[in-house]
Subunit: 196 residues, 2 copies
């Protein structure tokens, strides 16, 4: 296989890319080898070598423990449980949380054969026991698997003597009622709060 076909094959396997977008990308890069392609190869090589998983919370970053776990300004009494590193990053971008995290690494799924032992649940129980944890926030996706996993984790934490909470359902900020699904609308109605 030619180096061109080889490269397109590898690119087309990445999420969100197919043969067509991979082709476009390859042409774009080959026309800009010095400006785009070589710096990208460099960045990929550095990331492949230097990015580590945090052995405490499961975040990815340049050091272990990660920057969040090292940060003494963070409230170690609050642990936010997420499915994936992407969710942790999303919460960080929102600047809405100043505690620490725990990445489960997926959700329970009978279909895909993912059992509790495949997720970092024991590690979470350990952390909750060892530290001064006051509250565990289950920030799992509002999917069937996410909610089943939240339910299971909550059960396992029952005797740990910590508050267990989860994210509120409701109208997205900037969202319009007319475009919202019935389930969310019902949840928003049920969880209504006094105005003003």
């Amino acid at each position: 296989m030619s180096p061109l076909d080889q490269l397109m094959k590898h690119l087309a396997k990445l999420p969100g890319l197919g043969p067509r977008s991979a082709r476009r990308m390859v042409l774009y890069m080959l026309k800009r080898r010095e400006a785009v392609m070589l710096p990208l190869i460099d960045a990929l090589t550095r990331a492949a070598q230097d990015v580590k998983g945090c052995t405490t919370c499961g975040n990815l970053g340049g050091c272990d423990p990660c920057e969040i776990c090292r940060d003494n300004g963070r409230d170690r009494g609050l642990i936010c449980v997420v499915e994936d590193v992407a969710d942790l990053w999303a919460l960080e971008r929102s600047h809405a949380f100043r505690g620490i995290y725990h990445v489960l690494g997926g959700t329970l799924s009978a279909l895909e054969g993912i059992r509790p032992a495949d997720l970092k649940i024991e590690k979470l129980l350990e952390r909750v026991k060892l530290n001064e944890t006051r509250e565990v926030i289950l920030a799992l996706n509002a999917t069937v698997e996410g909610q089943a996993t939240a339910h299971y984790v909550a059960e396992r934490l029952e005797d740990a003597g910590v508050t267990i909470s989860k994210l509120a359902h409701g109208l997205p900020v900037g969202g319009e009622l007319d475009y919202l699904d019935d389930g969310t609308l019902a949840a928003a109605m049920q969880a209504r709060r006094k105005a003003g």
Copy 2:
């Protein structure tokens, strides 16, 4: 900047990618370093080193002259003129053309300041003069710039004593009348052929 941010910045600059898809891609790759990331780095490095532009036609490939220019089974009397390497590849995938190509490297554009000297037009005239060219097919995009460029190239080739043709306009195969724009529909009507 951390190696993670650096990598996402470089990826987000590629066509079709933004910050969100770059993030997803980075997480996907970092979870599969051996299986996905290292082979991709390898393929990028090889392509950056080994892929050459063909000095005859402008195609990209592992050798110069490219495989198409080297292929003795091709009809050297037919030169198909395209804007970009991507168009050449598209025509090759259609298996509809057995001649050789000429990549202009863009289209004339007053707006972007692209003049005839910026395109490989002189080189095309040279090739047409030197070789046993019978026909030049202008396979340029059906955009304003593409058609203006086709017009200009046709004018320059007027005295070369070769047939000049361009791709037919019409109904795309599998296309529905109702979804077609008026211009294409009018062109298809005008260029109608006897059925059967």
